[in-house]
Amino acid sequence: MTTTTGHKVVAELDRVVIRFAGDSGDGMQLTGDRFTSATAAFGNDLATLPDYPAEIRAPAGSLAGVSGFQIHVADHDIMTPGDAPDVLVAMNPAALRTNIKDLRPGGTLLVNEDAFTGRNVEKAGFAANPLDDGSLEPYHVFRLALTSMSVRAVEGLPISKKEAERCKNVFALGLMSWMYGRPTEGTEAWIRGKFAKKPDIMEANLRAFHAGWNFGETTEVFANQYVVRPQQAAPGHYRNISGNVALAYGLIAASELSGLPLFLGSYPITPASDILHELSKYKNFGVRTFQAEDEIAAIGAALGASFGGALGVTTTSGPGVALKGETISLAVSVELPLVIVNIQRGGPSTGLPTKTEQSDLLQALYGRHGESPVPIVAALSPSHCFDAAVEAARIATKYRTPVFLLSDGYLANGAEPWKLPEVADLPDLRVEFATGPNHGEDFWPFLRDPQTLARPWAVPGTPGLEHRIGGLEKADGSGNISYDPANHQLMCELRAAKIAGIADDIPLLEVDDPSGEADVLVLGWGSTWGSIRAAIRRLRKDGQQIAQAHLMYLNPFPRNLGEVLSRYDRVLVPEMNLGQLVKVIRSEFLIDAQGLNKIQGKPFTVAEIAAKLEEMAK
């Protein structure tokens, strides 16, 4: 549908994918974040994919320094940040070069032509200026002098030329806000807040923002304005949220719901650091954050805090987990609650530190010595990180066990609208500490609850329950050191049975198979949820029947997983690794599940999954 307002045509879109790309110094992440907030406030559904370099700041204008931010805006519920952009904003030649291949043919390209100097063109590895050599013909190109227009817009303010030039991202933001009819108040307020201490810069940014908007509105360059209507979302209270913030909030919620003070032991590491940053703000919730000397101290401190009756949490990424194995094994042995958060990134080793991957599942399952089972919960979308965190804490505290909470770089930095839960509806996480003897006159720290097999949690400071725990094998019940052979087998089996038994305390796996006629089941876990869902939807529109099930619990599995799998002829397991869940599924259920494996530091596109499913249908 197309309408005309003033001299501009307003075209209505059901969805659009926009990518901002520029130099690390160009503020693309900020621009993208702000556009996202405005989009959220407008009421669209959305999903985002930030993509930034491992370098702090690679040389200006270099390919390594390109930073991108993609947002998918829609009037209906979407699951992914979009396979390919419809619109690309390229702030310099390097950004153009690394991103243009993703733009769909016929897509809209806005370039900052001021940045296409000979030196920059060369740095980006172009033989000639791509603006002039006809190579951009497949696209709808707008050459805009973003830098000079920004500089003009702020003329007269007492700021340096460099500062003036820096406003170009806000100019672009203004222009895009106009083009997609995003509300402006939020952005203005945000600029005011951000530069509160530098009034001249604040004023410059405001002017550039308005200049961008006005440039779209008043010049003849753009014939079209677009509108993506607000989503018909379920009634409720919404906000936009990224995975790491949601995860941090989930931990705070768990603390409030359990009455246990939150203790975070962490050592900074991309892409997990933001959870530490976020939690360190909330001292008003009694949250203690401890930036440790290393990952081992971080988890050690968290375990020490758990021993003291806190909700002990440690956050890290794969390399950090690789250091924590010995302490996790201790936590398994002493049976204390602990949440271990792994925001997965590209491995092995330092790998691709700013990119996403799902290659630490087997590490979570088996990355320790001895028989040391640990439950695993995985988040499947940015906002779901909240629920996953609450659930991980529930299992940890109820079963007195370390729990892995797996997220990844894509969820961590990606954002989506979140329908806020009512606090009153959140689960009751209250825990009972031991208060007195449980074995005649004595207190036996390893006398288990017959139902959960959890041992009592007796915190120091409780009179009469003085006891010693440690990593040597303990006698069943009394917890005294025991080298008895049969007791060791019993204890290994009890620890295993305790974790296996959690299957009775988690929901059955739901299958999305509306027709009940599908032959193929797509079984995923973690952040592939959105891509898989979108792919299946697309195919269903074409009349194909495909079932989807997505695992939030990786250990133990939901009780009905075997039964679910047995209902389908073929099972496809897409993973951002070389095949990890699929190994476990095959072993456990002896079915010939097949993997679809992508390990490229970025999520599956919808098309990739759809193509595989179409191939299977042939």
């Binding site: 979302a233 009634p235 909030y249 020490g304």
Partner: protein, 340 residues
């Protein structure tokens, strides 16, 4: 301390667990255990408010024998685990028991960071200059040339001086004592207890199985007069059976051992535990590079500096007096919207 008017009356028995003590007969660990168990009642803290955290090693078996809360953790990690406990529970007394391998080899990093943070921990390092539990390899405090199972040709690594290392790591309380000198050890431990922040006590401990007699010069009746320098605050530093030897600070900035008769008592250094700068303490620590020379024992340094746990607690209280967090508000944030 519990807020009662009459301090709690306790006995050694209340700190003694029912577990059989499992060290080799003659091991110096027994004497340290006895000293600690006997001292604890003095603090009037009920056993349930006291926690002993240890790593792995012969020494680290210690917590099992104390009828307090205890955590026998993993090798080298006790200071880290205890830091979390102490930070989460400022109301408890947390003691760390460790060995020279546990604290200075695998656990060196946690050790120095606990010291610089000044967490409220009492760290007792049982230094026997050997790995006891794993049956006798050399440790980071073993003297150069030590022949052990892992160094049949003699070790070639220069050892740490735990006191120097602690001082270099910004420790606020540093002391040394001996397994065999019960009154001295008790005094030092008492002072460690009273210190706010991390208190570090190196205890020379004889491992009669794998390194017997390592400290004989400093501890034995015959030689200790010549080899033991007992530091006492405010007193000139002198030793020898008749106090005939003394310590001065040279103009070049080094401690030297002198005959008091040669230099006169006035030139002797006056020991100052409370000196702001750790320089004097460090200088004293260098007198003995291993127990083959006259070795200072006692309190090298005891200064007040804000403790990690205190500060964290203060920040938390500050934030909460300004208003305890509201979960609904947190979740909604500043930028939420409603769909009706």
């Amino acid at each position: 301390m519990t807020a009662t008017d009459v301090p709690l009356q306790l006995t050694k028995k209340e700190f003694t667990s029912d577990q059989e003590v499992r060290w080799c007969p003659g091991c110096g660990d027994y004497a340290i255990l006895a000293a600690v168990q006997s001292l604890m009642p003095e603090f009037h803290r009920p056993p349930h408010e006291v926690v002993f955290v240890s790593g792995i090693g012969c020494s680290s078996r210690f917590p099992y024998y104390m009828d307090t809360y205890g955590f026998h953790t993993i090798h080298g990690r006790a200071p880290a685990i205890a830091t979390g406990l102490a930070a989460a529970r400022p109301d408890l007394d947390v003691w760390v028991i460790t060995g020279d391998g546990d604290a200075l080899s695998i656990g060196g990093n946690h050790f120095i960071h606990a010291l610089r943070r000044n967490v409220n921990l009492k760290i007792l390092l049982f230094n026997n200059q050997i790995y006891g539990l794993t049956k006798g390899q050399y440790s980071p405090t073993s003297e150069v040339g030590k022949v052990t199972k892992s160094t049949p040709f003699g070790s070639v690594d220069h050892p740490f001086n735990p006191v120097s290392l602690a001082l270099g790591a910004e420790a606020t309380f540093v002391a040394r004592s001996l397994d065999v000198d019960r009154p001295h050890l008790t005094d030092v431990l008492r002072r460690a207890y009273e210190h706010k922040g991390t208190a570090f006590v190196e205890i020379y401990q004889n491992c009669n199985i794998f390194n017997d007699g390592a400290f004989d010069l400093v501890t034995s009746r015959d030689s200790k007069g010549d080899y033991q320098i007992r530091l006492e605050h405010g007193k000139p530093i002198r030793f020898g059976n008749d106090g005939e030897r003394g310590v001065i600070m040279s103009r070049e900035g080094h401690c030297e051992v002198v005959d008091v008769a040669d230099v006169g008592e006035d030139r002797l250094l006056i020991h100052d535990e409370y000196a702001d700068s750790p320089t004097l303490a460090f200088a004293l620590s260098r007198l003995a590079q291993g127990p083959s020379q006259a070795t200072p024992i006692g309190i090298f340094r005891d200064v007040t500096r804000s403790s990690y746990v205190e500060e964290v607690t203060r920040q938390l209280e500050d934030a909460q007096t300004k208003g305890r967090g509201d979960l609904s508000k947190l979740l909604a944030g500043a930028d939420s919207w409603r769909v009706e």
